[in-house]
């Protein structure tokens, strides 16, 4: 347990390291969380101090349009303090007010690279400019979206459809010089992305020199919908549709955020049921990713076998929730379906089968080097880069960072069950796979414990008191890493602001660092190693800049290249 003075000592350290007078207000919300309001001009300084000196990771950043309640905007940086002096894990929220007539604040990105995407997103959606941001391009909004129109502002209706304008996105490598650099475009829909994404590879022969990307082609406006049309009890059902694989984690994360904001006590049994379902989801997601890695390494036997084993996990989900996906289970205050004893017994039997089958398959996969030879020393993400980008989940743990929300900020029943993060230090694709492979076994153990120790009692909170303009932060360790939801709840059972940060959001910016120096054939494997979902169509455009040649390759072709480790024939 963390005593109150700890968070106070962190805040006073932060204050002492900032120029005098820059901290305006401090609000200690709980022994683990504090909101620090700083002056707009020193927000970058405050974030950098909290990130590097207090050992923080950037978990999310939120821009909020507070009008008409206040005369302007707010910008929140949510930092998870994990590498602190005394090892405590805390939430530190650093925020500032931004006036409406001058919506600007200094950018933290030059000193904290993890803030890059967040600040661009806030600029796109709310029109709050981060000054001195190194990347002036759009991130979230489509390129043909009209200038000066910001969809997350309160004066923008959720159903508005503005006319487009012609435009073009400019891909730019960080530092690429010299002749003979050829651009290879991967996308607009990547085979392994959970969102369609367009990658531009800058290659020298076969070697990747740099990578640039354009994403958010399917930005669906879920946040806007959640904070305008829906009531907060409807939102869990759309929250779980944010992702097709780790949907339950999002619903759980959202409910935790609202529960925290409204001060709802979730019954213990509901906490255990949530834990069980989260772990079932992790098993099936990790088995999917391990299978896909085998597929891309042209080791289809492993792919088929792991998917066969995964089917048991899907069946467990069906028994527990009534659907093959763990959907429709969460409401604010608890869960909707209980786990009776006979079903729990059935699940335990199936888990035993899953474990033995899984170990057999792993043993067979490990008996030869087909997979290992493709993954070892490929896509290395050094620990330092991982730290500066605040990567999450198996990507962080594969690079030696012991980050696991279940351990750092225990939620549901993880405090009682005690989870230790599984860490590998290699930083390559293989390490990330090993982390996942070991986590499947860990998840099986957690489910067994949880089903065993589950206390009796109600599964949903009786009463929920409305509160006005309260903040809540929910964090859940989804299969791919930490999901963070930030909510501001209004009295009329709607949301004032709902900010979703999926785990892959923090992991994508690491792709260029992982890819530099490796070949085009390794690229799909590297992208797969951060575990994005599989999308169906894929086109690859190969552009030879010197001759202006454009060639499109089919999805089959790039997967074939990856599997055969083949050579891209750019000229033909």
């Amino acid at each position: 347990m963390v005593s109150e003075p700890t968070i106070v000592s962190y805040v006073s350290k932060l204050i002492s390291m900032l120029p005098p007078g820059s901290v305006k207000d401090v609000y200690v919300a709980s022994p683990h969380k504090a909101f620090v309001e700083v002056d707009r001009r020193s927000i970058d300084e405050a974030v950098a101090v909290a990130y590097w000196s207090l050992g923080g990771f950037l978990s999310t950043m939120v821009g909020v349009d507070m009008r008409p309640r206040e005369s302007g905007f707010r910008v929140y940086y949510v930092l998870s303090i994990e590498e602190g002096i005394s090892g405590e894990k805390l939430w530190l929220v650093i925020w500032c007010r931004v006036p409406w007539h001058d919506p600007k604040y200094p950018s933290s990105t030059p000193r904290v690279p993890a803030a890059n995407w967040y600040e661009r997103e806030v600029r796109d959606l709310l029109g709050i400019e981060a000054e001195n941001h190194p990347d002036p391009r759009r991130l979230v909004l489509p390129d043909d979206w009209p200038d000066g129109l910001y969809p997350l502002r309160n004066d923008f209706e959720y159903c508005e459809r503005p006319p487009g304008r012609p435009s073009r996105y400019r891909f730019m490598p960080e530092k690429v010089e010299g002749d003979g650099i050829v651009q290879v475009a991967v996308g607009p829909v990547h085979p392994l992305a959970d969102e369609p994404a367009q990658f531009r590879l800058f290659v020298d022969g076969e070697k990747i020199v740099d990578v640039d990307y354009r994403m958010f082609f399917v930005h669906r406006g879920i946040e806007k919908l959640g904070s305008s049309k829906l009531t907060y009890n409807q939102v869990p059902f759309i929250a779980e549709r944010i992702c097709g694989i780790c949907g339950y984690a999002h619903a759980c994360c959202y409910c935790q955020a609202v529960e925290e904001a409204l001060g709802v006590e979730v019954p213990e049994r509901a906490q255990y049921i949530r834990t069980v379902l989260l772990e079932v989801e992790r098993i099936h997601s990790h088995l999917l990713n391990l299978g896909l890695a085998c597929h891309l390494a042209a080791f289809d036997w492993g792919f088929m076998e792991l998917f066969r084993v995964r089917e048991i996990a899907m069946k467990i989900a069906e028994i527990l929730t009534g659907g093959r996906k763990t959907y429709g289970m969460n409401v604010v205050g608890g869960v909707r379906r209980d786990i009776p004893i006979d079903r729990a017994k059935k699940v335990l039997d199936m888990l035993k089968e899953l474990k033995s089958e899984y170990l057999k398959v792993l043993d067979a996969i490990a008996s030869n080097r087909l997979l290992q030879s493709r993954c070892e020393n490929v896509g290395v993400l050094p620990r330092g880069v991982a730290r500066s980008l605040s990567v999450v989940g198996p990507v962080a743990r594969g690079s030696g960072l012991p980050r696991d929300t279940r351990y750092d900020h225990p939620y549901a029943a993880y405090r009682e069950l005690g989870v230790k993060p599984i860490v590998e230090s290699g930083g390559d694709v293989w390490s990330r796979l090993i982390v996942r492979a070991r986590e499947v076994l860990q998840s099986i153990e957690i489910i067994e414990h949880a089903l065993d120790r589950m206390p009796l009692g109600p599964i949903v909170a009786e009463k929920i008191e409305p509160r006005d303009m309260v903040h809540g932060i929910g964090a859940v360790e989804a299969p791919r890493g930490e999901d963070v939801h930030f909510v501001i709840v209004r009295r009329d059972s709607r949301l004032f602001r709902w900010r979703v940060r999926a785990s892959t959001y923090n992991n994508w910016p690491a792709i260029p660092y992982m890819s530099r120096g490796y070949t085009i054939a390794d690229f799909p494997l590297i992208v797969a190693s951060i575990d994005p979902c599989y999308s169906c169509t894929e086109r690859v455009i190969v552009v030879d800049v010197k001759r202006g040649l454009v060639k499109e390759l089919s999805y089959d072709r790039i997967v074939y290249m990856c599997r055969k480790r083949g050579v891209a024939n750019v000229d033909s």
Partner: protein, 179 residues
Amino acid sequence: MSILKVVRHSIKRGVVTILYPRVPIEVDEFYRGLPKLDPRLCIGCGACANACPPEAIRVEDRDGRKVWRIFYGRCIFCARCQEVCPVGAIELSKEFEAASRSREDLVFEAIFEGAKCRACGRYTGVTRREVELAKEILSLSETPRELVEKLSEYASMCSDCKRKLLREKLAGVWRGGGS
């Protein structure tokens, strides 16, 4: 380095896929498939339409009748409708094969006759079954019999007529003659 282990494993495993469309897939006992309405039980109250998060179920007025309508294309199989139904008319079936070539196949409608006002003869906006159920609940309650009869009368009137009646009664009380 032995690929033999893999081969041995596969031979031992044998065929695991099934001939799905020809061999049906068995789902769990409490599976959540397509929601099915039992029109014999439904009273057309619209509780399910209120609860449905994606608005797959809607209840609309059509010439005094209530039309209950589900579009399976929007359904997310959350079972909220089943949870809130006061008469247990909706149940999530074990059926999951909803694929179809036409959109119309995914729509299911049930039409309920509207109740007419006892006084003016216009539609009241509720269904006959709702009125009947309200009367039934009243008669089963411990309310005094006279009051039950009086309330049952109100139940089959439109809101305009109810207001008129109340107004007249209040005026009667005001004059000192009301009951």
